[in-house]
């Protein structure tokens, strides 16, 4: 087998073949991996519009968003004041009430306890609301206040505020 003289040419051919082959393999794998990302219909269901015109003061409704419960509460003046009065530095997860709402009478929270994922009680009038008058998680005893912040119990963080916008005074789009 003749060797050295054609080395340069052969190396170039080898290099370009291997490079193109590698690029091609990566390009082949890409669509398969991408197919595992959420599909179009899943993404379309990713945002929900809610009509809040019928919610009365003091009332809280639960809607489903991305498979999880979302609490939408129209807070009373007392509840808003109680939430504002708390010093953020006293909290396990320091957050001012103002940072958790866009319009202070409307509180929008993901209704999943940040401890281990149960749905806290407090939506119904007859529910236990815990010592801070917000929500109470019966699984391991976490107490949330009128801003949905963790005050007592094992949960590490405040109830999540999902991304939302006011499309108009009567409609919130979540997600």
């Amino acid at each position: 087998m003749a060797k050295k003289p054609k080395n340069k040419r052969r190396d170039f051919l080898q290099l370009s073949t291997v490079t193109l082959g590698a690029v091609g393999t990566a390009a082949f794998i890409w669509p398969f991996l991408k197919s595992m990302s959420p599909a179009e219909d899943t993404l379309a269901a990713g945002s929900t519009e809610v009509d809040i015109s019928a919610i009365e003061e003091g009332q809280s409704i639960t809607i489903k968003w991305r498979g999880k419960p979302v609490f939408i509460k129209k807070r009373t003046k007392d509840e808003i004041d109680a939430a504002k009065m708390v010093q953020a530095s006293d909290l396990r997860d320091p957050q001012d009430d103002a940072d958790r709402v866009q319009k202070e009478e409307w509180l929008v929270l993901v209704g999943v306890c940040t401890h281990l994922g149960c749905v806290p009680l407090g939506q119904k009038v007859s529910d236990m609301k815990g010592e801070y008058d917000g929500w109470y998680c019966p699984c391991h005893g976490s107490h949330y206040d009128t801003s949905g912040r963790i005050r007592k119990g094992p949960a590490p963080k405040n109830l999540d505020v999902p991304p939302y916008t006011f499309l108009n005074d009567n409609t919130i789009k979540i997600g």
């Binding site: 003749a2 669509p31 398969f32 991408k34 197919s35 595992m36 990302s37 599909a39 179009e40």
Partner: protein, 430 residues
Amino acid sequence: MDKNRKVHQFKNPVLNWIEFRLPIISYFKKEYGDYPMPKNCNYFWSFGALATITLVTMIVSGIFLAMNYTPHTDMAFDSVERIMRDVNYGWLMRYIHSNGAAFFFIIVYIHIVRAMYFGSYKYPRELNWILGVFIFLLMMATSFLGYTLPWGQMSYWGATVITNLFSAIPFIGEGLKTWLLGDYNVGNATLNRFFALHYVLPFVIFGVVGLHVAAVHVHGSNNPDGIDIKTNNDSVNFFPYMLIKDTVAMCAFGVAISAVIFFGPNLMAEVDNYIPADPLVTPAHIVPNWYLAPFYAILRAVPDKLGGVLLMFGAIVILFVLPWLDRSKVRSCNYRPIYKWFMMGFFVNFFALGYVGMLPAEGLYLLIARVGLLYYFGFFFIITPFVGWIEKPSKLPLSISDVYAKNIAPNIGGGEKGIPSPAMQKDTNL
């Protein structure tokens, strides 16, 4: 355990560590590195590699489809359309899978043509041939099961027709059919189990392919002239010579299958399968996928239901015994001047059967199917043994290197030539 067995030593310590515990590195070096391949193998010999690549592609695309498919009669059709429309690149995976199946059969048919024409089924490769026919049988089962999954009109009615064949078996037929279907008629129970079986069979195929390749490697590959490797000069190492040839073949195959997937994805599809299955409406023409058509033609050519079933399965079973029907000592049809024409006639006949298998079984088409059936079985039972017995074959070449130097080496690409072989040197007085 033989602690003193000889272990191959590599320069790389990691490779050595693995090799001592599982000699997989030397295994691959032996089977795919230094493995001797006849020099004179043409591109027909690349179709085995193409088939393996296609099998892997089918399994991968199938798994990703299965992430989004629902095997329930109420949801199957819609879930496939969801894959086409909503899943990212879902259309690509679906079309790869449906057209990949068709190309898998094209490749395997050409692979079988190679085996038959060049006598690769003969001594000492008979078991390899048998394993190959078994793979073919598994492929047909897998593709039949897979075709029902989209739950279109053709899915449902094709499944109905073929499973009805089982009821032709005397005594146990009806019970067997009900057991297979899980119901009195093709329905949800059937669809669900067909999905489970369709998912598992390709891995069985993969296993048998492993045996098939292992069997080839025992005695080495056949070659277009059908003569054995006698010296080192007759062969080249698989790596890089045959690997690079297989890569060329793969690129050509890539162009062909991409042309279909991207520009004609429904060319080989049945339009009726885009209509959701309706047990109350039978399509005007029920046909299987084209690659099963030759056997479907044989089935319909026989007026008796049980007879048709027996001959259809017989047409596949007879393949298993080909090595014993053919008594000729010469392998390659290139050196069998009479049998060669009957063999090519067999391929044409098989194609013709496939053609009429997709058309209504009436009139001229039915006649062609019957003639085709007669030639098909006549070729195996009568022509092959008889011609093998009386034929005087052509003179075989001296050696593979001889054939290569005379006929093949002069034609490789343009430009500079390498050092001429001793055989050539003798002729040209260099």
